[in-house]
Symmetry: C2
Subunit: 496 residues, 2 copies
Amino acid sequence: MATFKNLDELNAFKELSSLKKVVVKDALAGENGAKRVEKYSVKMSGDLVYNFASKAVDDTVLSTLQKLADEAELTEKYAELYNGAIINTGEKRRVLHQLTRGQLGNDVVIDGVNKREFYVSQQKKIADFANKVHNGEIVNEKGEKFTTAVQIGIGGSDLGPRAMYLSLENWAKKNGFFKMEARFISNVDPDDATGVLNGIDVEHSIFILVSKSGTTLETLTNESFVKDALKKAGLDASKHLIAVTSETSPLAKSSDYLAAFFMDDFIGGRYSSTSSVGGAVLSLAFGPEIFARFLNGAAEEDKLSKNKDIFKNPAMLDALIGVYERNVLDMGTTAVLPYSQALSRFPAHLQQLDMESNGKSVNRDGESISYKTGPVIFGEPGTNGQHSFYQLLHQGTDIIPLQFIGFKNNQTENDVVIENSTSQQKLSANVVAQIMAFACGKDDENRNKYFEGNRPSSVIVGDRLTPEALGAILAHFENKVMFQGFIWNLNSFDQE
Amino acid sequence: MATFKNLDELNAFKELSSLKKVVVKDALAGENGAKRVEKYSVKMSGDLVYNFASKAVDDTVLSTLQKLADEAELTEKYAELYNGAIINTGEKRRVLHQLTRGQLGNDVVIDGVNKREFYVSQQKKIADFANKVHNGEIVNEKGEKFTTAVQIGIGGSDLGPRAMYLSLENWAKKNGFFKMEARFISNVDPDDATGVLNGIDVEHSIFILVSKSGTTLETLTNESFVKDALKKAGLDASKHLIAVTSETSPLAKSSDYLAAFFMDDFIGGRYSSTSSVGGAVLSLAFGPEIFARFLNGAAEEDKLSKNKDIFKNPAMLDALIGVYERNVLDMGTTAVLPYSQALSRFPAHLQQLDMESNGKSVNRDGESISYKTGPVIFGEPGTNGQHSFYQLLHQGTDIIPLQFIGFKNNQTENDVVIENSTSQQKLSANVVAQIMAFACGKDDENRNKYFEGNRPSSVIVGDRLTPEALGAILAHFENKVMFQGFIWNLNSFDQE
């Protein structure tokens, strides 16, 4: 059994605080810069790479971070988690979202049910349902095919699945995998449901009600809204609604739904994109094979998270550097900057994932802690962010660590050459130029144009945003947040 | 002439730092709470109210903030601005966005041109054009009406107009003012343009190219994308494109455009929603009368910003409290939380407005300063945010000041009763409950559910989000940022 200690009880943390600070600008200067970019790079799964050459670390800091990882028993705690220990100390629950996408350790059997098999069985049920919708076996009252899937859910039932849908929409259209439009109703503000319903063809829509308990008031209110709209259109609501819920919820066996797919208490809302919560809408939108490829990408990344060596475990390294920035360098905010329009809502998902998991002032035993925990997370896609809040990132009075994400190729493969380069080349050039400007600054006699530099950043680079890459990036951040929770000794998985 | 001094040279600031800190929880306790809510409330224009009862201020702090406003000559600086002084010290330009919506002081005449009249003339030109599009005088090559307006622009040419469009879309549909769909292409990522073009009927679309200089690379790249698409569809691009630009730009008199509407150097991108930049797309989408009502709302708020008394100048008071939180209470981030789905992208606009204006480490003369300036701004609409990052806001280790916005009625007037209340009532109840929970905390034996409270917030409350209310709220924040820039002695209006 791993030992759970507060961060300030760990020797490696005390050591970390005493180390000489790294000046990013100097570390990247001259010939060393190129070597550093090559060396401070960790392979993720597939063709993804996590590069941290522009972070304020050096070999000494890194070896101390390795000590911290070892002393905090991070991979041991991860193993306990996926082997079914009660890691969610608040509600005394297991934490099994990684099992939705792979078998990482022992079988986890609860009340005679093998949980991995349970999650796979739900994926199969969803796949079967989605295939029948796509091939016209399941149709509306008029015998016509459904064209639109509308997710009704809030928080984790909304932000993750919505971000994932937007991430793959154009890719699926380009590659012949696009089956149905997806829309999302989340806010209890009635104008949200009204706006979505005004914009769709209700008669050809399937509505996916997502509520684990079956009692989330916002979601039930929006369901009632949708049922009203269906009734007014002369339609039978029970022919248009499906439920994603727990087996024990009132929705599970209700005749109000065409079908019900299950999750359980061991999947937190913000970790549910790879469960039935993401599975139903994504399988309907893109087909079950694409959802399976997304899960495979996440599973590969989960495996990397087992490595003890920080140079072979990008999520753990990212987590450790984040803690160093938060607790030693005293930086309170992190910006997530994906240079891909497809990831436009990915930062909003990470905002929930990270801030809801680790925005806490008590440890996993409910005791007050005296160090800083989870940072504020915000972000918008580049290059849009560049024309918006980058001024503060470059020249503001606080230093904000940056997390870039970029791809060598765009999803649709459509492009245009202007001034001797394609848009995609411009986008990639922008990522590199921004990382260098943040790190090294820019001299200018005009003090308004002068950047000091020394703004730390990392970048995840891949060839193209495919389902596998998306799954891998999602799992990277989920596992980063998990490792940070372990380091801060928090219960990152409470569902209160 | 007002005197420009750094914040730390002002006596009132030194005084402010020495005052006893207010404990929000105590200030709101018992009978005093209700009195405080009534007293700490400032009328905005129309039926809007700015309430700051849950801010960490008392009469002593407020009277010192009044002294700070007086000593920093905030309203005098504002008067210099709208009377045409060179407030943008970086590029030695005037700052005249308020004149797009009203005459606040003297005529500002430059090279024989009365700028207020110039802005009005552009509004009229746009109104005339939009009316002709709506009534079928201006049509596509086949003589058919245009149905969609697509804005091509980035930064201020995108975020503000997009946020305003989304803010009024459902309202306009409900009230019979909806004329055309609007879409936005901004990112240099070619998948952005591809995605938008895939989703529209190109043959019936007008594209609005927005670039002040006519040289913004992202925007010209996306224009080229659009021209390609038009050509491929066998259409004449010059019959589908209009330009919003400066009179001196290469776009101004090009035969590539059906029409050109002008702005000038005195309108910064992030302050351009009330200029032709917002005017073209909003007049096309909702009709010129609605755009005029939006301007009127902003103009009324601009007038309030002239008042020296902080209790009659909500934007100035909001600015002062923000500076107190940033520079005395040492809070580095502000969350903007509109309880209205229509304002879903308003926080993204404020992010640019605030962070690009005041995220600076040098003063208006280019000298380094030693105090904190603009905070990080982020936010999502409630109740979505509640199910996402509120955990950190309630229980995180940093205190994040909060800016709520709420309305008594929703825009579409569609609603549904569940458990004895409408969705709108639930939404309003959530705002009040959240403000109280943030301020007063929540006792719970379970330390995971315990909230300490003392998290300061303010709220802007209105009857309904109309064009006037939207204009007023926009101007409130623009003027807040302006006043904060004056207090920090920054050039908030640089366009670099």
